[in-house]
């Protein structure tokens, strides 16, 4: 009986949708440019960016408005969590190549 109850609870928990209800957004960094560089997310809902650094050198996904600083080594990927955002524009950059690596998250 206990096992059945435990099984039921686990099934119920598994059925609860994850925090990132929508699919993670895949972004590539290549030749020190983000693509896509404009990323739309739903306002007031957490989301996730999966960033693939296709360059050979490391870069840092940096955004003061998103409060994120995340080093991504060359040829590596990073899961970047975006908190629930109020509607607006949140610029980000690849700090090590800021002249080309620029992008913006738009929450709407």
């Amino acid at each position: 009986m206990k096992k059945l109850l435990l099984g039921f609870v686990l099934t119920a928990l598994a059925a609860i949708p994850p925090v990132w209800a929508d699919e993670p957004i895949v972004v590539h960094l290549k030749n020190h440019k983000f693509s896509p560089s404009v990323i739309k997310v739903k306002a007031n809902k957490p989301s996730m960016i999966i960033l693939f650094n296709d360059d050979g050198s490391a870069d840092e996904f940096d955004s003061s408005s998103l409060k994120i600083e995340r080093v991504v080594p060359g040829h590596a990927k990073a899961n970047i969590r975006i908190r629930a955002l109020a509607p607006g524009k949140y610029p980000f950059m690849g700090e090590f190549n800021a002249s080309t690596a620029q992008g913006v998250v738009i929450a709407e």
Partner: protein
């Protein structure tokens, strides 16, 4: 060259300010040069290791290893700063007396050196690993940029050293009797800012997902990205749009340090030989 200079300078500001404050907080303590230099050296070695294993660290804890690592070393620094301040609360007056006495040898201070050495090491490690990755990236692109990178990087480091020196000599203008009170105050704010930053890392790693809403926004006054914003961020933990959990961590750290300092200080005062 300019980009190397700017990035390296930006990263060494924080470590530079912390080294300046630590040097002032250990004025007159024998062996402090060795402790600070040891902290810097350990920090640089650690930074190279962290840079070399950046990918491996990031992949730990379902991809949140980097955030957890940053939060952990920040909290270690908070613990060390707290320890230093609590220790100073019971020995600060003694140290100030020694500092004012002839010879300026503050033997009492030797016991808190280890804690501050760790703080210096952590500050250098955090900022240094990014500098290493950045410079390595430029070096890997090779060619003519390498010489410019070395020049830019060197100038950036020198500028960080100047920040350290300004902070240190600025603090030294404070009279000996008050110096340790001021450095304790600065260290309390430093610790609170680090605790708030640790909360951000934990939030980004997927932990502590509550009170994440922005409480106020002072971006119209000082932007996080500006030099002023960065200086204030290091010194007092300034954040242009802090969220609830960040503010709670900030306030709780100050309250904790002040209470602990009062607790160790109180019994001595009652017996009248503080």
């Amino acid at each position: 060259m300019i980009s190397s200079l700017i990035i390296v300078f930006r990263e060494v500001i924080e470590a530079g300010l912390i080294v300046g404050i630590v040097l002032a907080a250990t004025t007159g303590v024998p062996g402090r040069a060795r402790a600070v230099a040891g902290g810097v050296l350990a920090g640089v070695l650690g930074a190279c290791l962290v840079a070399a294993f950046a990918g491996e660290i990031a992949n730990l804890f379902q991809g949140s290893g980097q955030e957890l690592f940053n939060a952990a070393i920040l909290l270690l620094a908070v613990a060390m700063l707290t320890w230093h301040n609590v220790w100073m609360a019971s020995h600060g007056r003694e140290m100030a007396r020694e500092l004012k006495a002839a010879g300026h040898q503050v033997k009492t201070g030797e016991r808190t050196l280890t804690a501050l050495s760790v703080v210096v090491g952590v500050a250098v490690l955090r900022e240094g690993s990014e500098v290493v990755l950045f410079l390595y990236g430029i070096a890997a692109q090779g060619g003519t940029t390498a010489a410019a990178m070395v020049t830019g990087g060197g100038l950036g480091l020198a500028a960080g050293g100047v920040i350290s020196a300004l902070m240190y000599f600025g603090l030294l203008t404070i009279p000996a009797g008050k110096l340790f009170q001021v450095t304790s105050g600065l260290i309390t704010l430093l610790a609170a800012g680090m605790a708030a930053q640790a909360v951000i890392y934990l939030q980004n790693g997927g932990w502590l997902e509550f009170f994440t809403g922005t409480v106020w926004d002072t971006g119209w006054l000082v932007q996080d990205d500006s030099i002023t914003g960065r200086l204030l961020h290091t010194l007092i933990g300034y954040s242009q749009a802090p969220n609830g959990a960040q503010l709670i961590a900030y306030g709780a750290t100050i309250v904790m340090i002040v209470i602990l300092m009062r607790m160790v200080n109180a019994p001595r005062q009652k017996h009248g030989h503080a």
